[in-house]
């Protein structure tokens, strides 16, 4: 286990460096920069600004300075929100996105797993058909469509939730619902497939033959193995959901990281974009390591190497 973690740690550093280098080159290669404005700056003022942000240095000097800063965990000041460091922006945005993502994930699991179990056990019955149609819809409908319906329903027709914003538990419900819906649908399908495979396995037949109750067979024996695909899906899904969804955050005006991500790219906010890309890499990598570790706990046949 320790060897596994150490080797993953080494690979993490290499991955982060590679992601840093590629992002750095891509950002500089794309036309347009953080100093471009609708009304063009006076050349002298533009020179002064470039000097202030060291944009007038040669490429390699910029690269080594940035890399040095990143190694010291100093991501610098955002170009676009100049009063804040990238670290401050992440510190304020990540808990918001994480809370929303966590709530959405919780909702997705609470809805998806039972739905998957039910439709696997009642295979081809009416319950299965209804649930799987709903799941297909959930995957097919984009976030913003669901959000539109949710807002019409629960903000205007039956006004129980606020239209947008952040700060009270009521604010979290609708966005978590919209963000979690496709995940719930996906998890339901994964659970169903996993469950169907397992239910046909020999050891389940043995369990049944021993006279265990159907509930005990499903929950104690089948479910844990059937959830393996769900767990491997959860790794990247958690990393993605925790760093925020630009669409849902924009519609509900939530101060999470998702909108920052998109805006940083559009506005060529070099420092913020870099910080977020590295953060996402770290989270994705961390989530995948956790998933690998979780396999051991769920499936006795898996060993870490």
């Amino acid at each position: 286990m320790i060897r596994f973690l150490v080797s993953r740690g080494v690979w993490l550093v290499i991955t982060l460096w590679a992601v840093f280098t590629v992002s750095f080159c891509l950002m500089r290669a794309v036309p347009g920069g953080p100093l471009d404005r609708e009304r063009r700056l006076d050349p002298q003022i533009e020179r002064n600004l470039a000097a202030r942000y060291h944009l007038d240095d040669p490429f390699w000097k910029q690269y080594s300075r940035e890399l040095g800063n990143v190694i010291r965990f100093d991501l610098g000041y955002s170009y676009r929100m100049a009063d804040f460091t990238v670290n401050e922006i992440i510190a304020q945005g990540l808990p918001v996105s994480a809370a929303l993502g966590g709530a959405a994930m919780l909702f997705a699991l609470l809805l998806g797993i039972p739905a998957g179990i039910v439709s696997a056990v009642r295979r081809n019955g009416p319950a299965d058909r209804i649930l799987m149609t709903a799941a297909t819809l959930g995957i097919a409908l984009p976030n913003f469509v669901i959000a539109g319906f949710a807002i019409i329903l629960f903000v205007f027709l039956v006004p129980i939730f606020p239209a947008a914003g952040w700060g009270t538990p009521a604010h979290i419900v609708l966005p978590a619902l919209c963000l979690g819906a496709p995940y719930a649908a996906y998890i339901a399908r994964l659970t169903r497939t996993g469950m169907l495979d397992v239910l046909r396995a020999d050891y389940i037949r043995t369990a049944r033959a021993k006279g265990l109750s159907p509930a005990a067979v499903i929950f104690r024996h089948a479910l844990r193995t059937a959830l393996t695909p769900v767990v491997s899906f959860m790794g990247p899904a958690v990393a993605g959901i925790v760093t925020g969804s630009p669409v849902v955050e924009k519609i509900f005006a939530i101060p999470g990281l998702g909108v920052h991500f998109v805006e940083a790219a559009i506005q060529r906010d070099y420092t913020l974009a870099m910080g977020l890309v590295l953060l996402f890499t770290l989270l994705l990598y961390g989530a995948n390591v956790l998933v690998d570790a979780a396999y051991v706990l769920l499936d006795p046949r898996v060993k870490l190497r």
Binding site: R37, A82, D83, A99, A103, P255, I266
Partner: protein, 657 residues
């Protein structure tokens, strides 16, 4: 097995704990109670440091927490006394003497003096600050030289030695020496030049090759200065941080603690508006030097002088403003607290407005404007706005260098169709670069360009040698990705095809890339928009002078340049406007641009809001806004006959998705 089960339970519990604690953390930073007045500000602001901001959302906040020498009347936009209670203008229009009010204080109780303004203007103009709006102060004598770091032999100069204490906050200055520049010696290749602007870009440029040596007379002694990084280093030279024109000779003088004198290069009729413009607000030296930028802008550190103070700030969420008890006119400030929401999406803003969570939204989504207009709502009234949407021609490329071709292309544009079919929200088809509505505020009546005439356009194109569009290269129309820009571009594409037989390709690029293409002149025809900074035709016409950074099409006419620069320095208003008009006539005969339409404001304001007036710069000082919870005051133009009923299903407003 049981071990594993325990582990998995621990893992599940840990995950749950993480999620719950995350929610608690996020929700623990909850909002305070509801503010008196809440509005959507469009986006997160870049900064609250007045010297560094540009843009309308930033302006709304900066104007609420700072106040310059003058302020704007919310309706007529006349300059009103701000920190300055009165002023005198010399008969030649070049010298302004401002008398500051003695009761003006910073939000920590310290008095505001002329010295504060002097220091703030120096900070604004200093190249290290890199203020984007510094050019607005270049009307002040020698100010441009100071920002540009341009010094000539014989000039008085200031030299800042590189002895700032380590870790000093930016703009806490090291030792500053004052002297007279005797010579500029370019070591080796660059000879010392004595004529004209000698060392054009020397101190500010980062070019290490041939760093010149500055010979300066200080207190009767000759001293030599050169950057330590210079490659052939003069051994006798001292290092320096900044070598600039002596700021004491720039036209901003402290006469006494409550009198400030500003001397201009030439008369500027709108200078009182300029000093009220938000970048020209004073900043507290004691606070800026203590914390440095940007730490001084944090709510816990900031000291300001406007009607409101910055109470708290959450990124991309909200800014809470509260009434400033030290503000000189705080008796007339009607709101105790304001929430500024950083809502990016216009649809979300509208939802917040319709559910009563926002009192003012500065724009509504394009698609619903026709419905809003039809509904007869009185809380939505588009008003004229001093801005122009237009296309520019790249006159460096053939055949767009031929005025006949440009005129033909422009004459084939049916602007009525744009307004009626695409925009549909009261925008006015533009016949000139300067919006006609400026005439309501200043005495300027713009000339009109040739009207829509497809047959004449075709004839003109044939005359230029391209009958029926034959022989023309394939033109490209560049615009930034946006629904309405795209719709207009498609409409014009079909209009040009129909009347001139021209095939125009459409190219859309994301914002930053579009700006870069335009800057580098990589386009045939490009979309552009311009919003006036102040109430004067100059803000538009200056743009098309030779060498102006915003003259992307490269059009150049000496007569035009001469007329604009003559108008800029002209003191007599009627002569000045005549010169501008003559210049715009040339512009509209040559057509380096196609004026398309004049946009309108799209404010939506709840009927309970008082003191909100439409005006042509779309400036709405928060100081003048009040809230009326009692009922509708028939005398107030913003509240007459609210017709919410048209808009409701039952008693609830209807969403506009």
């Amino acid at each position: 097995m049981s071990n594993r089960r325990q582990l998995s339970r621990v893992l599940a519990a840990a995950t749950l704990l993480l999620v719950v604690s995350g929610m608690v953390v996020a929700l623990a930073l909850v909002r305070p109670d509801r503010a008196d007045f809440t509005f959507c500000n469009g986006t997160e602001i870049k900064t609250v440091d007045p010297a560094l901001v540009t843009g309308q959302p930033e302006g709304r906040v900066v104007w609420a927490v700072f106040e310059g020498l003058t302020s704007y009347h919310p309706q007529t936009l006349e300059p009103l006394p701000g920190v300055a209670e009165s002023w005198e203008i010399s008969p030649d229009g070049k010298r302004y003497t401002f008398r500051l009010r003695r009761e003006a204080r910073w939000s920590d109780g310290r008095p505001i003096t002329a010295e504060d303004f002097h220091w703030s203007f120096q900070r604004l103009l200093h190249p290290e600050t890199a203020a984007e709006y510094a050019y607005e102060m270049w009307y002040v004598s020698h100010a441009e030289q100071y920002t540009a770091g341009r010094v000539a032999v014989g000039d008085p100069v200031e030299i800042e030695l590189p002895d700032r204490p380590p870790g000093a906050a930016p703009f806490a200055r090291g030792t500053v020496l004052y002297g007279r520049l005797l010579a500029v010696e370019g070591l080796g290749s660059v000879p010392a030049s004595n004529d004209g602007p000698a060392a054009d870009d020397a101190p500010a440029s980062g070019d290490p090759s041939g760093e010149p040596v500055y010979v300066v007379e200080i207190g009767g002694r000759r001293r030599r200065f050169q950057r330590a990084s210079a490659v052939p280093r003069d051994p006798a030279a001292e290092d320096y941080d900044w070598l600039l024109y002596d700021f004491r000779r720039v036209g901003i003088q402290v006469v006494d603690p409550h009198t400030l004198r500003i001397t201009l290069n030439h008369p500027v009729p709108y200078f009182l508006e300029i000093v009220g413009f938000y970048p020209m607000s004073p900043v507290p030296r004691h606070c800026v030097e203590r914390y440095g930028y940007p730490a001084w802008t944090k709510p816990e550190n900031i000291v300001c002088n406007g009607p409101f103070i910055l109470k708290s700030r959450r990124i991309r969420d909200r800014i809470r403003l509260e009434k400033n008890p030290y503000y000189w006119d705080s008796d007339h400030v009607r709101l105790n607290s304001i929430d500024v929401l950083a809502v990016e999406s216009a649809v979300t803003g509208l939802n917040l407005y319709l559910t009563g969570s926002s009192d003012w939204i500065p724009s509504v989504p394009n698609e619903i404007v026709p419905d809003l207009l039809r509904s007869g709502r009185t809380d939505f009234r588009p008003a004229p706005y001093l801005a122009t949407e237009y296309y520019i021609f790249n006159t460096r490329r053939k055949p767009l260098d031929d005025a006949r071709v440009r005129r033909a292309i422009a004459m084939a544009v049916n602007k009525q169709e744009i307004a009626a079919r695409v925009l549909r929200s009261g925008q006015i088809p533009a016949a000139s670069l300067v919006p006609e509505d400026i005439a309501k505020y200043v005495d300027y009546q713009p000339p009109r360009c040739e009207p829509y005439a497809p047959e004449r356009a075709a004839a003109l194109l044939a005359e230029a040698g391209y009958p029926g569009g034959g022989g023309m290269p394939r033109l490209e129309l560049l615009y930034n990705t946006h629904e309405s820009h795209q719709a207009i571009a498609e409409l014009l594409q079909s209009q040009w095809k129909r009347s001139l037989g021209l095939d125009v390709r459409l190219t859309n690029q994301d914002w930053a890339r579009y700006l870069a293409s335009r800057r580098q002149g990589e386009f045939w025809i490009s979309r552009a928009g311009w919003i006036a900074d102040y109430l004067d035709p100059n803000t538009f016409l200056e743009m098309f002078t030779t060498g102006n950074p915003n003259n992307h099409g490269g059009w150049s006419r000496p007569e035009y340049d001469a007329l604009v620069s003559a108008a800029q320095v002209e003191a007599r208003p009627e002569v000045r406007m005549r010169l501008f008009r003559r210049a715009e006539e040339i512009l509209l005969q040559e057509m380096p641009l196609i004026p398309l339409y004049w946009p309108v404001t799209r404010n939506m304001v709840q009927p309970r809001v008082r003191g909100f007036y439409p005006n042509i710069l779309d400036i709405h000082p928060l100081k003048d806004i009040g809230i009326d919870d009692i009922g509708i005051d028939a005398g107030d133009p913003t509240a007459r006959g609210s017709t919410m009923r048209n808009w409701c299903v039952g008693d609830r407003p209807w969403p506009w998705w």
